[in-house]
């Protein structure tokens, strides 16, 4: 099968970018109600440049997407998803620390 190759421009959604709640809903497949609940839980910063138009920082997207997946796929509520993500992050941090200490012990 012949495959055509197209060169496309990439846009990294990173620090400094703010994304409208409607777009975040689409990106994370999360309802506006659930998203507002996460905002109220103080998981990430938000701003309201115009009345009723919320925006969240693009840097929050990776965490938000995991929370949204847990809510959608496992049926946990917003508080549960936040707790799970925080615990997962703490677990990864500890694993990194363990790996680092193990590396120090190697060959000793």
């Amino acid at each position: 099968m012949r495959i055509t190759t197209q060169t496309v421009q990439a846009q990294v959604l990173g620090e400094g970018d703010w994304i409208a709640v409607t777009e975040v809903s689409q990106l994370c497949h999360i309802g506006a109600h659930d998203l507002h609940e996460l905002v109220e839980l103080g998981v990430f910063a938000h701003r309201e440049p115009h009345a009723g138009e919320w925006q969240v920082p693009a840097a929050a997207l990776p965490r938000l997407r995991v929370m949204a997946r847990l809510m959608r796929d496992l049926g946990v509520n917003a508080s549960g998803a936040v707790l799970a993500v925080e615990l997962l992050e703490a677990q990864r941090q500890l694993q990194r620390r363990i790996a680092s200490l193990e590396q120090l012990l190697e060959e000793e």
Partner: protein, 320 residues
């Protein structure tokens, strides 16, 4: 394409009720969810389970699927009957778009997958009665892209081979492969989204096509540990370098640099090289964790030196 036994995938009988199906899905989703599971191949298993649930939770899709009969076995060669899906009423909602589970692989290797199997797409995807309605605009697609840490540091160009279901003139669906060459800028971090405008599903009519979002997955690195934009590397030093201070060459993502180790440094101590982590605003830092490596006392001279230290230093590492 191969037949998929959705009941078997969820581990339920064909007579299972909606509650049993939901319960089985929840149990398996918890077990295989890629965000929390440690099971090997969890992502692939989760996709199968999710696809099975997508069909069996929906009375219309389940009824149509059941019409295929119970004689099919998983893995058998299958082709969707031309009249599949006729005689049912639909709510017009297309299958929801994928949620980042698809994997976009570089052209220099692996395959790529869509969110759903070819089996699912042929029965319930676009171009079928089940996928006919819905949004006029194109759907966004999500894929994950594996990036080496060095590539995240310096940026990279990748050719991604993707495939998506497209409706042929005769109404059947085929997976069409296409490739996109994309320049990923330096400084991408774990989980960050990269948007490729117009590379999602084409739309019905004149609405714009959806976008393709790539979720960056920075692969583990043997030498560096990544934490946000910061990296940590273990640096071996001799006891006298730690004790007396020294200028040594340290590895960084941007190439080796000379750095000064202060006198009196200890094993496990971290030294920071500001701005030597992943690029960004601000750039991350590199942390060098010192590992003091002792020379072996395997020559008379080395033994004599250790004995001299023992006799003259009055050092007890276990004291206070």
């Amino acid at each position: 394409m191969e037949f998929r036994d959705y009941y078997k995938l969820l581990g339920v009988e064909r007579t299972a009720g909606a509650d049993q199906i939901k319960s089985a899905y929840r149990r398996l989703a918890r077990k295989f969810h890629p965000d929390v599971s440690k099971v090997a191949n969890a992502e692939a298993r989760f996709k199968e389970v999710q696809e099975a649930y997508e069909v069996l939770k929906d009375p219309e899709k389940r009824a149509a699927y059941d019409q295929l009969g119970s004689d099919w076995k998983a893995g058998q060669q299958f082709r969707a009957p031309p009249d599949f899906g006729s005689g049912y009423e639909f709510d017009g909602a297309p299958p929801r778009s994928g949620r980042g589970r698809a994997r976009a692989a570089p052209a220099d290797g692996g395959a790529s997958e869509e969110d759903y199997s070819e089996f699912f797409s042929s029965l319930f995807g676009r171009g079928t009665p089940f996928g006919a309605g819905g949004m006029p605009g194109g759907r966004d697609h999500h894929a994950r892209i594996d990036i080496e840490l060095e590539e995240a540091y310096s940026g990279t160009t990748r050719t991604l081979e993707l495939q998506r279901p497209e409706v042929k003139p005769d109404g059947t669906v085929e997976l069409r492969r296409h490739a996109v060459r994309v320049t990923i800028p330096a400084g991408v971090t774990q989980g960050q989204l990269i948007r490729l405008a117009g590379q999602g599903s084409p739309s019905h009519g004149k609405a714009p096509a959806g976008d393709l979002y790539l979720e960056a997955n920075i692969l583990p690195n043997r030498q560096y540990q990544l934490d946000g934009r910061d990296v940590t590397v273990t640096l071996a030093v001799a006891p006298w370098e730690a004790a007396l201070g020294a200028t040594i060459t340290a590895p960084t993502l941007g190439g080796p640099v000379d750095m000064r180790i202060p006198p009196g440094s200890q094993a496990g101590q971290k030294l920071r090289l500001r701005g030597r982590g992943l690029p960004g605003n601000p750039a991350g830092d590199e942390y060098l964790q010192l590992k003091v490596v002792l020379p072996r006392a395997d020559t008379p001279q080395a033994k004599a030196l250790y004995e001299e230290m023992r006799d003259k230093l009055n050092f007890n590492p276990r004291a206070g």
